[in-house]
Symmetry: C2
Subunit: 435 residues, 2 copies
């Protein structure tokens, strides 16, 4: 195993590929708009397929539109055999595994509207570069390697569409009322030459999935602020969201005494402030967001009868999540009661917290140590394709620093050295896991 430890990705080749990709959907201000199944996204995928095939990998796609470069053990073995004939006899014994089990390395080529060049793209390009490096060095692996671009991670249409479909976790319900709108989904699938029933055919048998590794930018400031090279992800936070409705009474905003009002804005406002204080003081590993309030009737001169508040909160730990959820609901009830309001709550479960494989975290950390890169354990506040594989195969994820924590914006930036560091840790970890 230690024989691989000096292997590094080709930083210049990876940068050429990265820069080329950034041309698809380039917005002229350093960003990209490459939303799922847009012309820019489909063009980027067409180019990615050519890159895969021109590099001598098997190209694989599925009903969900995931695009992959596959490096089968047999190919690796054959390449290795050419330089190292004694490997030949091992090929036969690995054939069964070779045709069934794959270690996936990936991310996504789609972006949010007016997003950045790094989110998703870095992980896909690094995965391809890892396969190129492994292939050209004729490394003998025990599992196939697959560099995969998952469809619609960002949720222009559904969110985690490709990874959930591949993991066999996509609910048919998710296609009926998708967050991007039903019409956009239907039209997008049509543009991509896909059908709804085919999406579910992307599901792979669990036994074929040896693991999933992803390199991603942090989308936050923790690594940059601490001056640390690599974040080894311990968990992807869970997300819960509610619509909280504070319900009072519409009254004339001139003739109704202040003390006679049941003003929904007061409960919603007090909750917004109290929820933040609660999280900052008692749940430092969690975050909370009031992303929207809608006022009814919403006029200058009418006391608000109702405020519908969009609440989302995240935690990396299920027990803490339960406690935070309960505390927020108590807080909402208290603030509603304080101003004589009723409270209605509507729950939208989104994602449970996903723990990353302890073994893979250890390998990531060892790889960092070997490469003399500083590392720290982090929870991911954002959702990622990896969580689709929770309970199906071991998941591992690393972050590299984001300048000023910027993400989902053209100013998103990660120094190229950091990108290369991430790709090398991905390479080393894949090698250690796959041998």
């Amino acid at each position: 195993m230690t024989s691989f430890s000096t292997l590094r990705v080709n930083a210049d080749r990876m940068q050429d590929t990265f820069i080329h990709l950034a041309l698809f959907g380039a917005t002229g201000d350093g960003g990209v708009s490459r939303v799922t199944f847009s012309e820019a996204h489909l063009a980027a995928r067409k180019w990615f397929r050519a890159e895969i095939e021109n590099s001598g990998f098997e190209f694989h796609t599925d009903g969900a539109g995931n695009h992959s470069a596959v490096l089968p053990v047999s190919v690796i073995a054959r390449a290795a055999a050419r330089s190292n004939p004694q490997h030949d006899k091992e090929i036969a014994s690995q054939k069964t595994l070779a045709t069934t089990s794959r270690l996936l390395l990936g991310s996504h080529l789609d972006s949010v509207p007016n997003g950045g060049r790094f989110d998703g793209a870095l992980g896909v390009i690094a995965a391809l570069e890892v396969l190129r490096t492994v292939k050209e060095n004729g490394i003998k692996l025990k599992v196939n390697l697959e560099a995969i671009d998952f469809t619609d991670e960002e949720g222009t249409l559904v969110g985690l569409l490709g990874s959930a479909a591949l993991a066999g976790r996509l609910h048919p319900e998710a296609l009926k009322n998708p967050r991007g709108g039903r019409q956009n989904l239907v039209e997008g699938l049509n543009r991509a030459g896909l059908s709804e029933e085919d999406i579910f055919k992307a599901a792979r048998p669990k036994k074929t999935l040896a693991g999933y590794l992803e390199l991603h930018i942090e989308q936050g400031k923790r690594l940059e602020r601490a001056g640390i090279n690599i974040g080894v992800i311990s968990a992807i936070v869970g997300i819960r969201s509610y619509r909280l409705s504070f319900i009072g009474r519409a009254d004339h905003a001139g003739s109704t005494l202040m003390t006679d009002r049941a003003d929904a804005s007061l409960g919603a406002s007090a909750f917004t402030l109290a929820a933040r204080d609660l999280v900052v003081e008692d749940f430092p590993n969690c975050v909370v967001n009031v992303g929207k309030m809608e006022f009814t009737p919403g006029a200058f001169n009418i006391v608000p009868a109702r405020v519908d508040l969009s609440l989302e909160f995240r935690s990396p730990d299920e027990n803490e999540f339960e406690r935070l959820d309960a505390a927020l609901m108590v807080c909402a009830k208290e603030q509603a009661a304080r101003f004589g309001l009723e409270l209605e709550t509507e729950f939208f479960e989104k994602h449970v917290p996903n723990l990353m494989s302890a073994e893979i975290q250890k390998v990531f950390a060892d790889s960092c140590d070997d490469l003399k890169l500083t590392h720290t354990s982090l929870a991911s506040g954002a959702i990622h394709d990896g969580q689709s594989f929770d309970g199906i195969c071991p998941i591992g994820m690393i972050f590299v620093p984001s300048l000023n924590g910027a993400s989902h914006a053209p100013r998103e930036f990660t120094k190229w050295d950091d990108c290369v560091n991430g790709a090398n840790i991905l390479l080393q970890t894949a090698l250690r896991l796959a041998t």
Copy 2:
């Protein structure tokens, strides 16, 4: 003057008229929808014109669509002369005044959408009943009496349209971008057979306006709670409104630490609570309302970059208004700064406070005392047609109790005895002012 003090309106006739009016635009739940120039509104006006003409009054209309019953001094005098021939010789000396000066009694027949039966309607029906009572009793007055239904008090189209036009105060600007939308105004005028240029022809010479009296429901709980019959209005509050924009930064609501956010919702929420406390504690004669907040971008998973807040506040006193305005702006700046936000303010001046005539308030109070009705001095938190006459002629206004303070809703209700009390005070006050 004391000879009139036993005169009372005909409560049953007034109720018959009131009930008939409530059929126009009746919503089936006790309310009415009679928005300006709707079919229901135009039908109610047609009926009102017939009531005027069938009662033997002169019908008068103008370019703004105001509808009036006019009881000229000459007619009163003639009617009086029939029963009291010695009045004949006084007619000639009053002719000049008779053709120029009028004491207006009125309100409006238009309603808000799904409004109540009493708001506006009571004032118009009571004014007509006052004229009927004066006419049938042959009372000799020094000024003409006019019972008037003003166009569009509620502002479905413009707000105070008819009274402002009659007072010569309507700004041409008000028709260019009216609150109900330009298209609705054009279509409404068309349905009513009116034109924009004719509206301005409704302006009357100041010298023809002897005064304006209005009976209205309170639209609040003060009289009901205090168990008082009549509210004598001291002032109609002024209204100021602002759009306050709290501006932070959109960030990923999962990966951005709570302490790294510039969350616009926090400034807007803290201001909403602080503004209420400020008014309740330091400005007990004033009211404040945050009627709406608009969040940008307004997603569950994005920290709000901007909240646009609709602020309105009212005061019956100009000096207090200035102090409240300044205090609210300081409060907004402080709350924005507290959360690292920028603040933008956009001012919309609406109405200055209007003082009611001290003399008329005294006559209202004396009339109440004579009729053994309890009374109190109140500021009106709502706007009314009377304020169009500020500085043009003396204005007087009284309120009668609203059940539970309800208004602008089908549940709006005033006991009929209270309505009759109000009409009798209107009658007595008109008699005392006009003789």
